[in-house]
Symmetry: C2
């Protein structure tokens, strides 16, 4: 067991019940405050540990990091130190925050410098993203979309069970939770029309996803095997791959989604390390037909992570409209990374690879409005008599997630953003 994952550890930092951030989590993020310039921190309860200050105060001795690694507006520098380094770092932080270790706990003047209230901090996008890839790895989602967009009789395309279908997305427009955005405009083809029209998207949607963030990979030309893949994955976040379904339908053949997706994607600010998720591994679904040897894997590569999506209309309380789980993924992250690099494609530290919409078997677990409203043929009830088929201006969409196994419960925080009216 990774030392920091011990479920029996307690922290001297006060941690509210059901916090997403117990001492067993210790996710990494980047924050600033009115006083503090952007820097790396770790979440614990309602606080952030300021790692730059912790380094200055001498608590990082014998770890392979420099002060500038933490005094940075992204996690890339610590990620680029590699898995062994970040694992040692998390174990050190766990030790410093344990209630039975006095080193930091008993130095009140240090504690006051190092602990920042989350409510005083603004979280920033955690990584400078080189490339962003989006997969399409939930079989239920692929089947649902195939039924609606293509052919109900042949919903799953012939390649789907043979390879983790994926495509390149836009990294410039990935924003941290809390960045609101205007409804995108674009071309759509109204039903029955011969010519497209231009205007704000009428079918704005979320996509419930998770994303993983990579360590630096191998040189261009070399591949990462499924066995090696976890050594190249730093951690995971929640991810909302906002989609304009009407723009998508008109533009996506033959080269895939483009403007239907790249107006914004929302990422949660805290990167939960793959190490912290180790206790939540579960068996993935059986893959039938058998996959080619380079996609075969051993052991458990899926994760039991409960996921929720809630909608809060302007000025109203949120209603949870989707309960899904990351364990549903047909293709796991190790297979995704092995596939991505089998042709020699190189990855860099801080690349983001998202799962694709995570839908379960039951309608209540569908991870998009497209599926929940079955292309607008059904109504989704919200509190106070509100209802939706697609998203409206003023709606805030909140994605949350937690992993628990009876002993430990760790959370991902949230990926949240509000839809503002289209710019005129």
């Amino acid at each position: 067991m990774i030392a920091a994952n011990d479920p029996n550890i307690r922290s001297w930092v006060d941690i509210p019940e059901n916090s997403d951030f117990p001492i067993q989590n210790l996710p990494f993020g980047v924050f600033k405050t009115a006083q503090l310039s952007p820097r790396v921190g770790v979440a614990i309860g309602d606080h952030i540990v300021d790692l730059k200050t912790l380094h200055v105060l001498g608590y990082m001795e014998n770890l392979p990091f420099e002060q500038s690694d933490f005094h940075s507006a992204s996690l890339n520098k610590i990620i680029n130190r590699g898995k062994k380094a970040t694992r040692e770092l998390r174990n050190r932080l766990s030790k410093l925050l344990r209630s039975d270790v006095p080193d930091l706990k008993n130095k009140e003047h240090h504690v006051n410098q190092v602990l920042v209230k989350m409510s005083d901090a603004q979280m920033l996008l955690p990584v400078e993203i080189g490339d962003y890839t989006d997969f399409y790895s939930s079989i239920e989602h692929a089947r649902n979309v195939g039924m609606m967009f293509r052919d109900p009789e042949n919903a799953l395309l012939p390649n789907w069970k043979h390879l983790p279908v994926g495509y390149h997305g836009r990294s410039s427009s990935i924003a941290v939770s809390g960045v609101d955005f205007h409804r995108p405009k674009g071309q759509t083809l109204p039903a029955g029309a011969a010519e497209p029209v231009f205007g704000p998207s009428r079918l704005l949607d979320f996509e419930l996803e998770m994303a993983f963030i990579t360590y630096p990979g191998k040189p261009l030309g070399q591949s990462i095997s499924t066995e090696e893949a976890e050594n190249y994955i730093f951690g995971m976040t929640l991810f909302n791959d906002w989609s304009a379904r009407d723009i998508q339908k008109w533009e996506y053949v033959p080269l895939g989604p483009f403007l239907a997706k790249n107006f914004i994607s929302t990422m949660s600010p805290w990167v939960v390390t793959l190490d912290a998720l180790e206790p939540f591994k579960v068996q993935g679904p059986e893959q039938d037909p058998a996959v080619l040897p380079y996609l075969q894997y051993e052991g458990m590569k899926n994760y039991n992570i409960d996921l929720q999506v809630a909608i809060a209309p302007e000025g109203k309380q949120p209603t949870t409209i989707c309960n899904s789980n990351f364990r549903y993924m047909y293709w796991n992250q190790s297979q995704q990374l092995a596939h991505h690099t089998i042709n020699g494609c190189n990855i860099r530290g801080g690349d983001v690879m998202a799962s694709g919409t995570i839908s379960g078997k039951e309608p209540g677990s569908y991870g998009s409005m497209l599926e929940l409203s079955w292309q607008g043929t059904k109504t989704i009830a919200l509190a106070d008599g509100d209802e939706r088929k697609f998203l409206q201006d003023g709606d805030t969409v909140i994605v949350t997630g937690q992993a628990s196994n009876g002993q430990t419960r760790i959370g991902f925080g949230e990926a949240k953003a509000k839809i503002l009216p289209a710019l005129s």
Copy 2:
């Protein structure tokens, strides 16, 4: 007229006849030598002007640049200074290199420090690429591929004439000219087979493209109009979007090309500024049906740039197999950029947007082996009795380009790479 474009200017630097780099060009690149660390340079004849040293020697006075902008492994810092700054820089360099301006010419000890022989230098990838987008803007290419991959009767999809179809590509695997690569491996579905097989691609291809490099754009949510677009384009390069056709055919429905493209793309090292290309503007093709207002434009936005592709088998001389021209593009760069940002997608300095394969009407102007060999049904003759349908191991593909108008001829150098055997 931009001062540096004056066709009557001559340089005191010796410039071989038909050089790609007369004083009217002055393209920017990044180089290093055995003695010099990576830095920004400008090509003139067979030499590179070392801009870092030029700055140190005081020749950049009153220009909005710092020494570190030039002492850098990418052009991003100078690009991020904006169009006005880079235009002033090019005009200053033009002045310093003119035969009738003595400032630098007569200082032999400075000239010796500033002029580096191209043969002593190694060119590096000119930009750190945030995002890479590939368009599909040649109507002849789209029609040819549509006939082969889909339906000869409906080769052009319904959206094609209404919007510049594009998709996101992989930026990590874009390499500078001269970086050879191994034939990619991947999944393909043999004709008539029910299950895919794994192995080296058998249908390796080039795609003759050009790419433009952007200045920093507007904040997320705002759009760049066709009228504004040229203010956000720094310059252009040659681009080879290598493609594995058999991998592409199996993977690309429904989300577009992925592993068929992202194993490598080859970019020429010298970025020819849009300013230098100003004298080569030509009218684009008529667009019928009329495009939506946000895609309409005024003036000439196409460029008359001759393009060639040659293949050199291992140890043999190259044979030119394609003669095309950038003026054939149905969608121009200003339309591409306006479309890309119409939904609020943001661009950053150093983003790369490629044209898509540039095919003309005649078979000899087709910009890929797929089209030249008409999906392998025809043979392409090389010198010495060699022939090809697709590319073989040991083949070097060389893309070249030049713009000329009777008064001035400026070139792009080359985008070249060799195919090594697949790794076992």
